[in-house]
């Protein structure tokens, strides 16, 4: 199939040569592949943006998952920001809370937009709605943020993996965070090469991340992984915008991620047989949820012992 780019090197070279944004190349490629007009493609992405915004808002009002294992943390973080005591900075924590909000809605079987997957759906919108307050983007720039994320995600999906069962959490939250970093850089006015640096710096630091969901649910540690992924994106984007580069080129980082995923034990790839899922508490939670145990008092005793 005829495509405009197969890897990040193609993407950046073409963008710089033609003086275009990464998002523009993704839009042009989608037009080429689907035969649809720019307006149709833009409108569809705009609808995804609406879904993301609604999920963030719903999560910030407070939700509880079906099991009762997660929910309400986005509200706690917002209250903490409002107290004025935040150490890491309000924008960073705002992104964290909005990523958490989206994933809490996801765990509650609410409506979300996969970016690139449901388990990693918090990072791209979480960072977007946080940097929005600082950068004051137009609606078009916000939609472009999603196309830029999508361009990098497209390369990862075709050259490595975006599935936790195939590549571990590095393929899901790792990819999502790196995609978000690239999009933040573009929105903040960085060059296509700087987008790639932001992407590489983020993904490098999330390599090896295992997928070990407690009880096999997209809740623990997924919700907080999205939070940490969002903070990674922002820091890496800032580093790239400061002129920091990755010593290992972007495409090689993606290749490393793929090979790490392949060599990872199946126990650490979404089977809930290893990692946090296999801890005593992880197993007790599984037992409580599926064999009729008492999850509420289990969670209470965890809080008390902390």
């Amino acid at each position: 199939m005829d495509v405009l780019f197969h890897n990040v090197r193609d993407l950046v070279e073409r963008a710089e040569k033609e003086g275009k944004l990464i998002s523009e190349l993704m839009i042009e490629q989608e037009m080429l592949i689907s035969g649809r007009t720019r307006e149709e493609i833009f409108a569809q992405m705009d609808r995804n943006l609406v879904v993301m915004e609604e999920a963030v808002e719903r999560g910030l009002r407070g939700v509880q998952s079906v099991t009762g294992l997660t929910g309400g943390d986005a509200v706690l973080i917002q209250n903490y920001i409002a107290s004025g005591k935040s150490l890491a900075g309000d924008l960073l924590l705002d992104a964290v809370s909005k990523a958490v909000a989206t994933n809490e809605v996801n765990a509650a079987m609410g409506t979300i937009c996969a970016t690139p997957t449901a388990g990693s759906a918090g990072v791209v919108p979480g960072t977007l709605f946080a940097v929005k307050n600082k950068l004051n983007p137009t609606r078009e720039q916000m939609v472009r943020y999603l196309f830029t994320s999508g361009a990098f995600g497209f390369v990862v999906a075709n050259n490595a993996s975006i599935s936790g069962a195939e590549g571990g959490c590095q393929a899901e939250v790792g990819s999502a965070s790196a995609m978000a970093a690239a999009a933040i850089v573009e929105m903040a006015g960085g060059t296509p090469q700087q987008c790639a640096e932001g992407f590489a710096i983020t993904l490098k630091n999330m390599l090896g991340l295992v997928c070990d969901p407690v009880a096999g649910l997209v809740e623990v540690p997924c919700v907080k992984r999205n939070a940490m992924g969002a903070s990674n994106s922002l820091v890496a984007a800032d580093m790239a915008l400061a002129g920091v580069t990755s010593r290992i080129p972007c495409d090689e980082v993606i290749g490393a991620m793929y090979r790490i995923g392949q060599s990872m034990s199946p126990n650490l790839k979404e089977t809930a047989r290893g990692g946090l899922a296999a801890t005593p508490t992880g197993k007790a939670i599984t037992h409580a949820i599926f064999d009729g145990g008492d999850l509420k008092s289990l969670l209470k005793s965890r809080t008390a012992s902390n």
């Binding site: 970016t115 994320s149 995600g153």
Partner: protein, 220 residues
């Protein structure tokens, strides 16, 4: 390329919590229903790999049933699909398997009603995207992303040409085609991906061609 559209990456809009285990599962169920041609009365769903380990927590079970009831990935009724199935007279059973399949997210749906039975195996390859890997014992690769026709036929000379002719007469362009058979001279299967959704009239015409035993379609 496994992923062709940006909306495979930023999307789908879906009911949580998992794109591969919930949205992908709903799509497998829905394509299986399309291939069967109507809602089956009963289904046995065999789950492999990660699907077998975590299907309850991910809502894979309700999503597969939702798909069989023709729900899209963002249909809120997925959450109550078990109750909806009861109302629609669809009985179901889940059977977690321990065998290793090529892909960790694999489901095999054996379904039927008073007139017919069919087996469809689907895999969820990530981000909500799926492939159909087997139909009635025939290995194939079908993404569900393009409209397609499946034709079960006797393995006889001229069958493929006759079907292609029929499509040509209706100006239907073939994008990709695969032909396979279990044994020479017995039953064979054509998988034809086409550029536009296929009208029921064309399906009926194909089914009248000699040696054709069954025609199913997937619209997009």
């Amino acid at each position: 390329m496994k992923f062709t559209s940006v909306f495979d990456i930023i999307g789908p809009v879906m009911i949580g919590p998992s794109s591969s285990h919930t949205a992908g599962a709903a799509r497998i169920g829905r394509v299986a229903r399309d291939l069967f041609g109507r809602q089956p009365k009963w289904v046995k769903i065999y789950l492999y790999g990660s699907f077998a380990e975590t299907y309850r927590g991910h809502g894979t079970d309700v999503a597969l049933i939702g798909g069989l009831l023709d729900y899209d990935t963002d249909d809120e009724r997925i959450k109550t699909a078990f109750q909806e199935a009861k109302a629609a007279n669809l009985t179901f059973e889940f059977i977690p398997e321990t065998a290793n399949k090529e892909h960790p997210n694999t489901a095999r749906l054996v379904m039927g009603d008073d007139d017919n039975e069919m087996s469809v195996e689907g895999i969820s390859i990530g981000g909500g995207k799926i492939e159909i890997s087997e139909v009635n014992g025939f290995k194939l690769r079908l993404t569900g992303g393009m409209p397609a026709i499946l034709v079960v036929h006797d393995d006889r000379a001229g069958c493929i040409a006759n079907v292609a002719n029929c499509l040509a007469m209706h100006s239907v362009n073939i994008g990709h085609m695969e032909v396979s058979r279990i044994e020479r001279g017995l039953t064979a299967l054509m998988v034809i991906e086409v550029d536009q959704n296929i009208d029921k009239r064309i399906i009926d015409q194909i089914s009248y061609i000699p040696h054709i035993t069954k025609v199913s379609k997937i619209n997009n």
